[in-house]
Amino acid sequence: MDRRGNGHTVAATLEEALRILRCDALAAYYRLVREMNGLSVTFDVEGELFSLHCADAELHLQPLPADATVFVQATRKTILALIDGKADMMDCVTMGKLNVWGDVRLLPNISRACIAFADGAIRSRQMRTLLTSFRSDTAPKEAGQSCNQSFLQETADRDWAPST
């Protein structure tokens, strides 16, 4: 697997996020489980491949299965843009920065699962520490600039402007 900085892969970060969610926001965790039940979502984040599988009311990260029901492709930068509120799902999909393949009938479940995850995340204080680690592994600091700079800087807007 791709390991950077302090060694936080996207898979390891997601695994830790699920543990935190279960600890800090149990209701959100079980709502996530309910929506994901029976699904196997394969992620490709800049070449790092892993799969999230849900069965028997538990979420497990595992090596790439052969029977993935949903496939998601994104970059770390896109993930952070979504977390930071710089971009929304529709922006990312229409700009080709977030790709989702699967049976269209599963989209409502995926959508509700994402909402449950985010709802639990903003109720959790531990999640912030994890995000800081993920961010430091993702965005190298530029001289004199915090890597978690203002959420509304024009530079960020330019990054997310549709290409012409």
Partner: protein, 344 residues
């Protein structure tokens, strides 16, 4: 004015629930400040709050909200969350310390130090009260809970704010402070709108106005509303209930960011409920006030609801106010900056 400052030394203190108090899990208390630096076109909002059962470790949070709006740059700032046990409070007077943040009342002035953890945002300010406070300690019902508040409608602020791209030193900036406490649940059947503004110059007699309205969750049924008018440091007029009409017009179509960022993953799409204009008219015999507030900056602070899933939106706005009126044979007319909040 000296008496006012002595009064605040006593009344503006924490109101933490004692251990075992009923409803302590829905306890909330916050210290809110707005500052307007007309010279540098900067509107600043600073809020330090406690939420939850502060009598038990791990059962409450302490949040620091720090925002700055400049027309040329938009919004800067963020929300920092802490375990409430990290907050150090003095029960007898206002002295709240939380990591590198500090809210104190010392020698007749508020001392504010706000430093965000992950973003270049540092605010230090000394705020001197310029008008008598108003204490509304009547357990105003909001949903199944209640709210109390202390208003200091006009202060003079001096200090410095450092952001990623600039640092601004300000002197005699217009400021407002309120302190709220009570027990309520976000998402319960209540809503509110409130706003504050001050005349920009001494020749307007340091007129300050504070409007508040509580409603049902949809904002359709008005429960209580007041418009307080301070002039030359004292409360000159209080319009209440049927004396007041307030109405929204249009929709603010500028960019409206949400904080924290993941809130945008919970409620998709844009924030649509912020008006472009808000008009308040108050009439009582010969006294009258008209306020026309035009919004030029808006941001939503999303608070997780206490009822299941989802968030409650606290829409913070800044803009220009045109104020005209007459109270107690004193006529006022001025244009200034204002800061209003609309709960969604």
């Amino acid at each position: 004015m000296k008496d006012i400052r002595q009064i605040l030394d006593i009344v503006d203190r924490p109101h933490l629930p004692p251990p075992g108090a009923p409803g302590r899990s829905s306890f909330k208390e916050w210290f809110h400040f707005t500052l307007t630096d007309v010279q540098h076109d900067a509107d600043i909002i600073a809020n330090v709050s406690l939420s939850g059962d502060v009598t038990r470790a791990g059962m409450a949070t302490a949040d620091v909200i720090a925002l700055c709006h400049r027309p040329s740059h938009g919004w800067s700032g963020s929300i920092d969350s802490y375990e409430a046990a990290a907050a150090s409070l003095n029960a007898e007077r206002l002295s709240l310390k939380l990591s590198g943040n500090r809210v104190e009342y010392v020698d007749g002035a508020y001392q504010l130090a706000i430093h965000l953890r992950d973003e270049e945002f540092s605010l230090t300010a000394r705020l001197v009260p310029r008008a008598s406070p108003m204490l509304i300690w009547n357990d105003t019902p909001i949903g199944s809970g209640h709210l109390n508040w202390l208003i200091v409608p006009a202060l003079s602020a001096s200090g410095r704010i450092a952001l990623t791209d600039t640092a601004i030193s300000f002197t005699d900036a217009l400021a407002y402070h309120d302190h709220n406490w009570g027990q309520w649940k976000w998402g319960d059947d209540f809503g509110w709108e409130w706003g504050t503004l001050m005349a920009p110059a001494q020749d307007a007699g340091q007129t300050a106005l504070v409007f508040d309205r509580t409603t049902d969750r949809d904002g359709r049924q008005v429960l209580e509303q007041t418009l307080g008018v301070w002039h030359n440091g004292t409360l000159a007029k209080l319009f209440t209930r049927q004396m007041i009409r307030a109405r929204r017009f249009g929709r603010f179509e500028g960019r409206i960011p949400r904080l924290p960022g993941p809130a945008r993953l919970i409620e998709w799409g844009q924030v649509l409920e912020i008006p472009i204009e808000y008009r308040i008219s108050a009439r009582d015999a010969d006294d009258w006030i008209d306020i026309d507030y035009r919004i030029d900056g808006a941001l939503q602070v999303s608070v997780p609801t206490d009822f299941g899933f989802g968030v409650v939106g606290l829409n913070e706005t800044v803009g220009n106010c045109t104020v005209r009126g007459e109270f107690g044979r004193t006529a006022v007319e001025f244009v200034t900056r204002g800061c209003f909040e609309f709960m969604a």
